[in-house]
């Protein structure tokens, strides 16, 4: 496929006969880029057809599609126009993509939970189909023929009987007069042109030439660059500050105290002291020269080692039952054999390659413009409005490209810092987090302890299953009284247990947060899948059965599961079980396919092993097989991976493959390397030396991805690949060595 940005630009230039001024600004905006300092003027003479907030067709035929979701590598800026343009019968090379700012008119813009397609496929189809219908009505009216006699294809409406045709652009004014159809007809999938096609990345040219603009790249005239020294312990405050040396550093312009942290933290600034300078380096140097005496506050007690022991202890005592099927106690008491295991997974940092960065300006009327690499511009509006005491509609939240997000950038604390400093200084301000800030001051993925027990009969079949989960909740970020897991977290791989076991009880245990807890790609599914998929493998070996066969027998016969039948509350990722059931047949199918691709069961040389795991999350089913080798020192290498996803209908298969490849590497990083710990309330790691990520020399020889061809509504894609990776690797490690890994990361035990 062609490079849409280039063609669109050229086309735009040719058709308007302009090359400077407003046009360039409009185009740079389209490229998710720098702020426009002058009003865009290029298209003022052009008539427009805007049937909804996503579609703006100009009378010269240029089709602006407004992308209201954030691009962070998942490919939404390519996939979203695929859906709209397909339903509209628009030509791909006439599209100019515009990144939408925050605004209620767009509906939910929070780009997390792998929701953009699975929740908004119909909304996007509707945006395109209603535009198409109005263009058809306009042409029928013009030609005085029946609506049923006209058709659309490739940016043109045709009346076949008379041989007449009209380009979309010619119909703009008439289309704008048509009534918005209540329920436009969607295309038959047989007629899709872009949906289901691997269209090239819309931002591919910019991303390979240094032209793509991220949050860190915003430049405003006369702006200051800020670096903020935040409390080393979450919730800490300043006892005293001496900024005299900081102010003496060349380039430093100002030093500003940030507002004290709030409880709960929500998305508010963490407090501390900002140094503002004429460039980033000077701000960082000035910051180093600050002398601050901190009051650490109550979270100074946080010590990861003792916290871990306390969590494990909690997981060994009866918790709050939230799911109860049959009689687990009777099953365990009367069993031929009981197997039990503890699993532990640490805090993680999202560590996107672009650290959080935002730039803000306060306008003369008191409104605020803020540019940031945010996953959620509506949260930016809300947080900044609250902090500055202005209306949300007076916060203009512009969205840049995101240099990775992984959940970190769904929090609006960094745009709020920039807005605060812009108001305090009366200047435009860019805040750039350092890597140390990112790793030490972020919203951490929760640490977790999992305890499992299973009873087995004489044939090795599981008769009872007890699972306790303990972790500090994301809820604590929004409610300081929160002491334990919340229901929305238990939906993620805990109460949706797919196993066919007659007696099952699921319990939770409390753990109070001492740091800000937040989402990280696939969230609680990480530790729940690690525990459940590891335990399934342990049970297979205890029963003396092949782990793949045993996994399939645990999943059991094809059926639809409803966790509420056993007393759990269950939200199914915000979508109905009717449309998106928990279907064990689909889970079994990905297991079979992955095993088949990996030639499961083949003979392996000494020191090699295959491991398998499968997990449903975000309405998609993923199975992973890892082949590992282990050297004489016990060190692991992941040789190859086979990943199978059933996400129902997919929009862009190549982006799905890319997300699975990325999930494989992301899952390897957390299985092998990732751990954040606290001592005295402070985070002990601070950069990629203490918090290593998988590098290219550790990447598998191949990551082989298969997408199941399933006629079902779209499921999520960005996150579901992650959960089964770690257990597939640790199960493979067991197959190769006979050593069971029950704690992540493997690095800690010297296994990588």
């Amino acid at each position: 496929m062609s490079d849409i940005r280039l063609l669109s630009r050229r086309d735009f230039l040719r058709r308007t006969g302009q090359g400077t001024g407003g046009l360039v600004l409009a185009l740079s905006f389209a490229g998710c880029s720098r702020p426009a300092e002058e009003p865009a003027a290029a298209s003022e003479e052009l008539a427009e057809f805007t049937p909804n907030v996503y579609v703006n067709l100009k009378s010269d035929g240029v089709l602006e599609i407004h992308c209201h979701r954030s691009e962070m590598g998942q490919g939404i800026r390519t996939c979203l126009p695929q859906v709209i343009a397909d339903e509209m019968d628009a030509a791909w090379d006439r599209i100019v993509l515009v990144q939408a700012p925050g605004g209620q008119q767009y509906g939910d813009q929070n780009t997390d939970g792998s929701t953009s397609i699975r929740q908004q496929f119909d909304l996007l189809r509707n945006a395109g189909a209603s535009a198409r219908e109005m263009l058809l009505l306009a042409a029928a009216e013009r030609w005085q023929v029946e609506r049923s006699e006209v058709t659309a294809a490739e940016h043109t409406v045709y009346h076949e009987a008379s041989g007449r045709s009209a380009g979309f652009g010619e119909l703009v004014e008439d289309a704008a007069r048509q009534e918005l159809p209540a329920e436009p007809t969607f295309k038959s999938p047989d007629n899709y042109r872009y949906i289901g096609e691997s269209m090239d990345l819309i931002d591919g040219f910019d991303m390979t030439t240094g032209q793509a603009n991220y949050g860190i790249d915003t430049v405003l005239p006369d702006m200051l660059y800020a670096s903020i020294e935040r409390p080393p312990v979450f919730g800490g405050t300043i006892r005293s500050l001496d900024d005299s040396e900081a102010r003496a550093v060349a380039g430093v312009v100002d030093v500003v105290r940030m507002p004290d942290p709030t409880s709960p933290p929500v998305f508010n600034p963490l407090g501390g002291v900002a140094v503002l300078a004429t460039n980033t380096w000077a701000a960082q140097q000035g910051r180093k020269a600050l002398k601050i005496d901190w009051d650490a506050g109550p979270n100074a007690v946080y010590d990861s080692e003792s916290y871990k022991q306390a969590m494990i202890e909690t997981s060994h005592t009866a918790g709050s039952p939230i799911f109860n099927r049959g009689d687990v106690d009777a099953a365990l008491d009367g069993a031929d054999r009981v197997v039990e295991a503890d699993y532990y997974a640490p805090h993680l940092s999202q560590a996107p390659m672009e650290p959080p960065a935002a730039t803000a300006r306060i306008n003369e009327d008191g409104s605020c413009d803020v540019w940031s690499c945010t996953q959620n511009p509506q949260a930016v509006q809300q947080t900044v409005a609250g902090l500055l005491g202005i209306e949300q509609t007076d916060v203009h939240a512009h969205v840049t490209l995101l240099g990775g997000g992984f959940g970190r950038k769904s929090k609006a604390d960094f745009p709020a810092e920039a807005a605060w400093l812009a108001r305090e200084t009366g200047r435009s301000v860019k805040v750039t987090w350092t890597r140390e800030d990112d790793i030490q001051q972020g919203y951490l993925h929760a640490v977790s302890a999992q305890h499992l027990q299973a009873s087995m009969d004489g044939d090795g079949a599981v008769t009872g299953w007890l699972h306790r989960t303990v972790f500090p909740s994301i809820g604590s970020t929004f409610n300081a009284e929160t002491t334990g897991p919340g229901g929305f977290e238990l939906d993620l791989g805990f109460v949706d247990n797919p196993f066919d076991i007659g007696n099952m009880r699921l319990e939770t245990g409390d753990a109070k947060a001492h740091v800000r807890i937040g989402w990280l790609r696939s969230v609680c599914n990480i530790y729940h899948a690690f525990a459940v998929s590891s335990f399934a493998d342990e049970l297979a070996h205890a029963a003396g059965v092949d782990p793949k066969d045993y996994l399939l027998s645990l999943i059991g016969p094809p059926r639809l599961i409803d966790p509420t039948a056993d007393g759990a509350s269950y939200n199914n990722y915000g979508q109905s079980l009717e449309q998106h059931p928990i279907d064990t047949a689909r889970l079994s199918a990905v297991v079979e396919k992955a095993a088949d691709m990996a030639s499961w069961g083949r003979a392996l040389p000494e020191g090699r092993g295959l491991g398998i795991a499968a997990h449903r999350s975000f309405l998609a089913y993923v199975a992973a097989v890892a082949e590992v080798s282990v050297d004489d020192a016990g060190k692991l290498k992941v040789e190859d991976m086979w990943l199978v996803i059933d996400a129902g209908r997919v929009i862009n298969p190549d982006r799905v493959v890319a997300q699975m490849e990325g999930a494989g590497i992301f899952g390897m990083s957390l299985a092998m390397h990732g751990e954040i710990t606290a001592k005295g309330g402070s985070i002990e790691q601070n950069n990629f030396d203490g918090y290593p990520l998988v590098r290219i020399n550790e990447a598998p020889n191949s990551i082989n991805v298969h997408i199941m061809d399933v006629d079902a509504p779209p499921g999520g894609v960005g996150e579901p690949g992650v959960p089964p990776i770690a257990p597939a690797i640790t199960n493979a490690y067991f197959a190769a060595t006979g050593n069971r890994v029950r704690e992540l990361p493997m690095r800690k035990a010297g296994l990588v």
Binding site: A250, N279, Q285, P352, E354, G403, G662
Partner: protein, 152 residues
């Protein structure tokens, strides 16, 4: 202090502290934002540029050391964004978020300059200083191999 830098064949005169890392001179003073900040400690490679053809981590390279040398950033790698690596990157749709890719491409370009036909092991060694959190590594390998084929 006044320092003269030649970036992408343009001469810039900067009045900056001599210990300022080259990265910030390129980004904040020269206004070329294609070179990215990732760690500040030469651990991630997002800031990779060429100094006299050699790949350096500009976040940890003082601007004073670059005076009088020839600096190439991603913006100057090719005239029209058509370096064989840039083309291969697009053909294989390597980027996900894209943030690290400037540094990846600059490291790969330096590799192909000194080793036009690198083995898989050569690629892994040369590229191991460049992190990609999105996990595009298998495509990066394939794109370098494709560009090497095209060049030869």
């Amino acid at each position: 202090m006044a320092i003269q830098l030649t970036i992408n064949d343009s001469v810039h005169e900067f009045d900056v502290e001599p210990d300022m890392p080259l990265l910030w001179a390129i980004r904040d003073i020269a206004g070329l934002t294609g070179t990215k900040f990732g760690c500040g400690k030469a651990l991630c490679g997002a800031c990779t540029v060429h100094v006299d053809g050699q790949p350096v981590r500009s976040c940890s390279y003082p601007v004073s050391a670059a005076a009088g040398r020839r600096i190439t950033t991603i913006e100057g790698l090719s005239e029209n964004g058509d370096h064989p690596l840039q083309q291969a990157w697009r053909e294989l749709n390597v980027p996900q978020c894209g943030y690290c890719q400037s540094g990846q491409i600059m490291s790969a370009a330096a590799l192909l300059e000194r080793n036009p036909n690198p083995s898989r092991a050569d690629i892994d060694t040369a590229m191991s200083g460049n992190l990609c959190r999105c996990g595009t590594y298998t495509r990066i390998r394939a794109a370098i191999e494709r560009a090497a084929e095209v060049k030869s």
